[in-house]
Amino acid sequence: MAGDEIIFGLPSKGRLKEQCEAWLVKRGLFLKQTGGERGYAAHFDGEPMVEVRLMSSSEISKSLLAGEMHLGITGEDLIREQSPKSDEQVEFVHKLGFGRADVVVAVPDGWIDVSTMDDLAEVASDIRRTSGKRMRIATKFARLTTEFFEKCGVLDYRIVYSGSATEGAPANGIAEAIVDITTSGATLIANNLKIIDDGLILSSQACLIKSRIATLNPKQSALMNELTRKFG
């Protein structure tokens, strides 16, 4: 990162982008997209030294963790999933109160013998004993799943990567259970899945995040302090 600008990452589209803009406007920061509505570069009105990059939430997380961006708004789930040492790499400056999503463990609703992670541990062992194979968990949250399952003593499972339509995995025979994000739970119910009582892995929301890795020269430090004051 050459130059004296502060690099600020914002979600590039959808409801999340609108909510971010509204949150920033309340703090006196008005977004101006350089290439019009479809452009991916922008700045804040009256803040020429803040370079705003419009990117996917996932790319913002990666850039913050790598120190390629100073500030950004993205989901806590993405940061926690992408690095085991996220607290060393980034600082969660503000929880923004929108973009809420819970990362949960869900199983077929017909598993009436399963309501806790302890139950799931036993079912996993049963599946391994009878089929010789580990229970499959479809998810894109491999790290969060591994950490949570270890904490809960669930051992006999395997992760099957699922980038999208994860809720359909058990019905399609791709996996026996899933770990995914949910807001209302409606998609899970529609796919005959239920959330395990103690299966909440992370209650995530959009956060303003500062990279601890990105370097700051004196000018950038001063600007960062000014911005931080605006964010309150």
Binding site: D113, G132, R134, A142, P170
Partner: protein
């Protein structure tokens, strides 16, 4: 890559290779990349955070080998042989918890398959590995021994109500979890079985039990997915109900089990304690203790008198496929693991889905622990 490359010089390498080969065997090149599904199916997802992944052009997820045992077993199976001694050397790759520690390090080892005399094979491996450790400068040191099948044997033969035995068995490989379950089993259950569980307890016929669950799912418009049928669910509901209606595990029995599982110390002291405690829960450890006494004598005849021997009943398993003798050799400061190995008779059967049932034992040293710094 900011890591310092660790290399041992050619003379040292030749010396190590000659010592490892003293009981025969052929040097083999092992694959660096393995299908990650195979590795994780065998080792469990607990290993995932330590693996390095890659994708093949056809989309298959691969990982760099995290040890030599698994690629050696795969190579042995592909060879079609029924007996072999493999000598192997090369880098393995494991992400380290501490930042800045090199994730790639050299292992050199021996893997033996299909030995008729298993005990002889165990000692041949141990002897070669220990001698190799001496060759590169081990002086004194500490040898930790364990029996990978002991915890399972304790749970199978202890005088325990079946309902608790069934509850404990799946955690036989992870003692921290097993200890938790033993504790839980002593707590009186305050939850009464549900109406469904009660009904299932009263039904003795499996098919009728499965039918009842099916009916409940139909009425409630619930689906059980493809992996489990209604009988599986009925059986588990019965198991849960049995636990809820059974007497808690006696605190005395729990205390004995927990004490045995945490025994670690001089072999004779541990064996005596295992024997005495085992007797209190109706396990006869006489034959087991005698067999291990003989093993210890033989091991003592192979090692220096200043090498401390410790027996650990429930030595943590880095890879859960070890099911027989296990050992780990530490340097004098007791901090660095220089060599480790053991018997893993179930691995070949698991990799071949039961087609081949061939015994296996292996061990590796990490020469850079002594020769190459961290």
């Amino acid at each position: 890559m900011p890591y310092k490359n660790q290399n041992i010089d050619i003379q040292q390498s030749i010396k190590i290779k000659n010592t490892l080969a003293k009981n025969g065997g052929e040097w083999v090149d092992l694959p660096l990349l393995l299908p990650s599904s195979t590795v994780l199916e065998l080792a469990g997802e607990g290993l995932r955070p330590r693996l390095y992944f890659a994708n093949s052009p056809d989309g298959e997820e691969l990982c760099l080998r995290a040890d030599l045992t698994m690629p050696a077993a795969v190579t042995f199976i592909e060879s079609g042989e029924t007996q072999a001694i493999f000598l192997c050397s090369g880098k393995v790759f494991r992400a380290q918890k501490e930042s800045g520690v090199n994730p790639e390090f050299r292992q050199m080892g021996i893997e033996r398959y299909g030995d008729k005399d298993k005990e002889n094979a165990d000692f041949a491996i141990f002897s070669s590995i220990y001698e190799t450790c001496k060759t590169i400068g081990l002086n004194g040191g500490r040898l930790i021994l364990s029996d990978g099948g002991l915890v399972k044997k304790i749970l199978e033969t202890a005088n325990l109500p079946d309902v608790w035995r069934e509850y404990f068995m799946p955690q036989a490989n992870v003692v921290s979890e097993l200890l938790k379950r033993i504790n839980l089993a002593t707590v009186p259950n305050t939850d009464a079985p549900t109406a469904i569980e009660k009904s299932l307890l009263a039904i003795k016929n499996d098919q009728e039990a499965a039918n009842l669950v099916e009916e409940i799912l139909d009425i409630s418009k619930l689906k059980q997915g493809l992996a489990r049928d209604t009988l599986d669910i009925a059986k588990r509901l019965r198991q849960k109900a049995k636990r809820q209606t059974s007497e808690p595990l006696s605190k005395e029995t729990a205390a004995i089990l927990q004490e045995i599982l945490q025994l670690k110390g001089a072999p004779n002291t541990v064996f005596n304690a295992v024997w005495t405690l085992g007797k209190q829960i109706n396990i006869d450890f006489t034959d087991w203790a005698k067999a291990w006494d003989l093993k210890i004598q033989k091991i003592q005849s192979l090692i220096d008198s200043d090498c401390e021997i410790v027996f650990d009943v429930a030595m943590p398993k880095r890879f859960e496929y070890y099911d027989g003798i296990r050992f780990e050799i530490f340097t004098n400061d007791n901090e660095k693991s220089l060599a480790s190995g053991g018997r893993y008779d179930g691995l070949i059967a698991e990799l071949t889905k039961g087609e081949k049932n061939i015994s296996a034992v292996g061990a590796v040293i990490r020469p850079e622990v002594i020769l190459g710094g961290k």
